[in-house]
Symmetry: C2
Subunit: 270 residues, 2 copies
């Protein structure tokens, strides 16, 4: 199987694959890049992970994730996340904003706070050479995970800040349903905001809690290739990460998940 040069395997797709096996498996398969997660890299050791990935010749396309601006220590925690991205050589830190503060119904206030919090992090991110990428999550996560619910809204939040330091994530799973999405992808390109392009498919029924409903490319109803072509038409030529959270996928051996991911990618994205 020839692996396209822009393909990146997000480690969350094989959540239980130990980092050394993930790195060895990607190298053996000819995969050029990975997306990493803070919890997993911390568990393996940040510097150890950075060295392992670097020595293997793998690029790190993004680190998930900062954000959660509804928690009291968001400022320090996000500076740590920026440092970790820099250490790992990840050019992009994905920001998931967090939902409503406990007991709150004020989504406007929560959204305004996200904008201010990002502004507060811009100097630190710029100095670290890490680009902050605001990720709109599907509206079903608005209350408990991310008050940023559409690409248009993410672009509005990014607008006050320099595009080299603040961009957005285009993740097919979260925004495929939006009838404004094609216009907003065009806009994201014009405003030079596409920091990351992530691919997952949408399938139903959704599981309880809905977090683990993401499907491998081709196992759902999203026009994935159309999205790839749209971000490219908007000027994006960066990595294409596949990122799937799915309990049934996670139960399989890491190598097999990687192979299925690549097969789905070649058939439905590339």
């Amino acid at each position: 199987m020839t692996v396209p040069a822009r393909f990146s395997f997000n480690q969350a797709t094989a959540k239980y694959w130990p980092i050394p096996d993930l790195v060895a498996g990607c190298v053996a398969a000819g995969v050029p890049a990975v997306g990493l997660w803070r919890e997993e890299t911390a568990a393996h050791g940040l510097d150890k992970t950075a060295a392992l990935v670097r020595d293997a010749g793998l690029a790190v396309t993004s680190l998930c994730r900062g954000g959660f601006f509804n928690t009291p220590d968001w400022y320090d925690e996000n500076r740590r996340a920026i440092d970790e991205a820099a250490t790992l050589g990840a050019p992009v830190l994905v920001l998931v904003s967090g939902g409503l503060p406990e007991g709150s119904r004020d989504v406007d206030a929560a959204r305004a706070h996200v904008g201010e919090a990002i502004g507060a992090l811009v100097p630190y991110a710029r100095d670290a050479g890490v680009r902050l990428a605001i990720e709109p999550l599907h509206p079903m996560f608005c209350s408990d995970r991310c008050v940023v619910s559409s690409l248009g809204q993410a672009l509005d939040l990014a607008a006050p800040y320099p595009s080299e330091t603040v961009g957005v994530v285009v993740d097919t799973y979260h925004i495929w349903w939006d009838d404004q999405v094609w216009a907003q992808i065009d806009r994201a390109g014009r405003e030079d905001r596409i920091a990351s392009f992530q691919v997952a498919d949408w399938a139903t029924p959704l599981p309880e809690g809905v977090l683990l409903g993401r499907a491998l490319p081709g196992d759902g109803c999203v026009e994935l290739r159309r999205f790839r072509q749209a971000v490219e038409a908007a000027g994006y030529q960066g990595p294409i990460e596949v990122e799937v959270f799915n309990a049934e996928v996670w139960a399989r051996p890491g190598q097999e998940i990687l192979e299925s991911t690549l097969a789905g990618y070649l058939a439905h994205v590339d």
Copy 2:
């Protein structure tokens, strides 16, 4: 408890309350109106339900639901639904568009078809004196239940047709997360499209399949009173239906559900 004159109890909130008990319970509680469902009225008998409700002096504020334009017999089925609404004296037939056709990924085509299908039904609805109300459902239902995912999209679909025959449903549960929602409610008022206002609250975690996640007013995070004030500011003075699908609520006796619904309504909507 004084029941506000615009309150309407949607029967789906107490799904297992037999229709005669529902009617007697509403009358006893001073509830002036109900929203009805096709399956339940058919099971009890359409004419029998119509007579029962009429003799009890209850108004029927809406019938749920037509739509599902992705099924082969949508045209005849929706004409039957319009007839049933007319028989029940319901001024409004709620339309849930249906999701993607089996195996399809073409959401644009599905949406275009919804617009055409509604157009095909307009003469029949007009002659029957029934207003068609396009309901945007939460985007988590886009693939399998309703490709109309935002109020703005519903208004775009309604736009080609006379507002006295085609309107939209403003349902707090489905649209609360949308940062465009206040502007779109204003627009809906200007364009005279608000045919129905339904209230349910948003709570997490969502159950498997997500359909039964709706919460009674006050049990979630939606600014329900703000929505009521917004539709009123947009000129809407019609009924306010509470419509909740929730397995835990359904397990309780009908009379108790009605009382909880009224209490939540008075505290959080009125």
